[in-house]
Amino acid sequence: MDRSLRGAAAIVGVADDVSPTGELERFGRELEVAMVLDALADAGLGLADVDGVCHPESAVAFAEYLGVHPNFVESTMTGGSSYEVHVEHAAAAIAAGVCDVVVSVYAATPRSDRTQRRRREWRRPGGPNPMAEWDLPYGLRTPMGPYALAAARHMYEFGTTSEQLAQIAVSTRQWAALNPRARYRDPITVDDVLASPLQVSPLHLLDCCLVTDGAGAFVMTSAERARSLAKPPVYVLGAATCTDHMVIGQMPDLTTTPGAVSGPRAFEMAGLQPTDVDVLMGYDSFTITALLHLEDLGFCKKGEGGPFAADGHLGPGGTLAMNTNGGGLSFTHPGMYGMFLVTEATRQLRGEGGDRQVAGADVAVAHGSGMFLSVMSTAVLGTEATL
């Protein structure tokens, strides 16, 4: 593969805001602006340095609000994987000399929007579209319905069990116990997961991610400039994205996500393999989502994700540190959680992980999953030592 983003750009500032209550006081633009300013401050930069803006709804509108005049605007919206796509595109733009300092931001407050009864336009399909015509009549609940179908098919083809899926929630909760900002920190057992109410079977409530408020931002710049900034640079070593469907009925194989393409491409660009990874931040919208990442990224063979997870590889002290912040399952999940994959991977590679720090972490993967297993985006990140 003749692509050369390796080491060309770095993440130099991150910020995020979550609360164990699941709710934040700030919302909307105020929260977005706070995240951008915090991430810039983390980098030792300011708004005047920004010449690239990423925002999954409208980078143009957000740049205007910030009062910056960027040379690079990026509004790619791929659901939860949007922010890994932004990493990839920002790295490409920086490497090409299109821009120098790029910010990407996220803020969503679904929980307090509800408790505060904030006015919020409900997004409806704007007229006949495939989902309305062919899916909505059948009451497939989103987001979990499509994931339940994937879990059912994986169980059928590979003998995966509800207990094995539950172990992912259990291991992730063990990481959350080490994160004082996580929404849920009390230990849970496999039996707890199986005893929680079925949502769309075979998924139980504790197989599903949270609904919380949350916000975050990151700043990227060139490798050269990164070295003069406040924090140790986290370099983008490889990045790739792939999508093979939007609605679940169009997914070619419910047991293999497009991460089976984006993952190997990102690793190839990085010149690394799954065995080199110290921290895997794999979007855990549901336990089945994380299981599919393990297989598709090559941490285990296709069909072996269940036994791999059940062996307790994934918790603190295991062989693969996965979702060390406590994940979408226990830390936070405002809707498009991919931002927190980037902030946590960055903190781990800087050694800022506190009680949950993975010792000597040099390589982290932020693997975002968007929509209905529809868009996978893999960013392989590394410290200076990996260049």
Partner: protein
């Protein structure tokens, strides 16, 4: 004292008719299940399109063909919180929503009815059945095939 409105009759979200979906929905009025077919590469196309996504043949290569109504369950799920799904058609009872593979090789979402929802299995043979919509169209649902048990292992893809 307030007077509650009568409870709405359990109803479906009624599907809009997309630009290419007209012939499909018209045929449902007569209980006929049609599949868009590409005569260029000889494969079914679902959902209907203006061109063939398999071989890129144009609209002229596409026609509508009658389907047998026989299908195999590809992946089932049971919705245990119908209210959370915004679905009132099941009277609050759990229902099965599933992807099924038609004999003609296309996959569609549907509900499998006619058996307890948690008894629907991957590989189970099913046949089409119809539920009336308010405008005379009918929604294709599926039920276990009369002459077959549950799928278990033998008939999966």
């Amino acid at each position: 004292m307030s007077v509650d409105a009568p409870k709405a009759t359990p109803a479906r979200f009624e599907p809009p008719v997309g630009v290419e979906g007209g012939p499909f929905w018209d045929a449902t009025r007569e209980g006929r299940l049609l599949v868009q077919w590409c005569t260029s590469c000889d494969q079914g196309v679902f959902y209907p399109r203006v061109f063939c996504p398999h071989c890129a043949a144009g609209r002229d290569a596409l026609e509508w063909r009658g389907a047998s109504g026989r299908a195999t369950v590809y992946a089932p799920g049971v919705e245990h919180k119908p209210e959370a799904a915004g679905a009132s058609f099941s009277n609050g009872q759990p229902y099965c929503v599933a992807l099924v593979d038609l004999e003609e090789g296309v996959r569609m979402l549907t509900n499998v009815i006619g058996c307890p929802p948690d008894e629907v299995r991957c590989g189970m043979p099913v046949t089409v059945t119809w539920e009336p919509l308010s405008d005379g169209r009918q929604l294709p649902l599926f039920q276990p095939a009369a002459d077959a048990g549950s799928g278990d292992g033998a008939t999966g893809s």
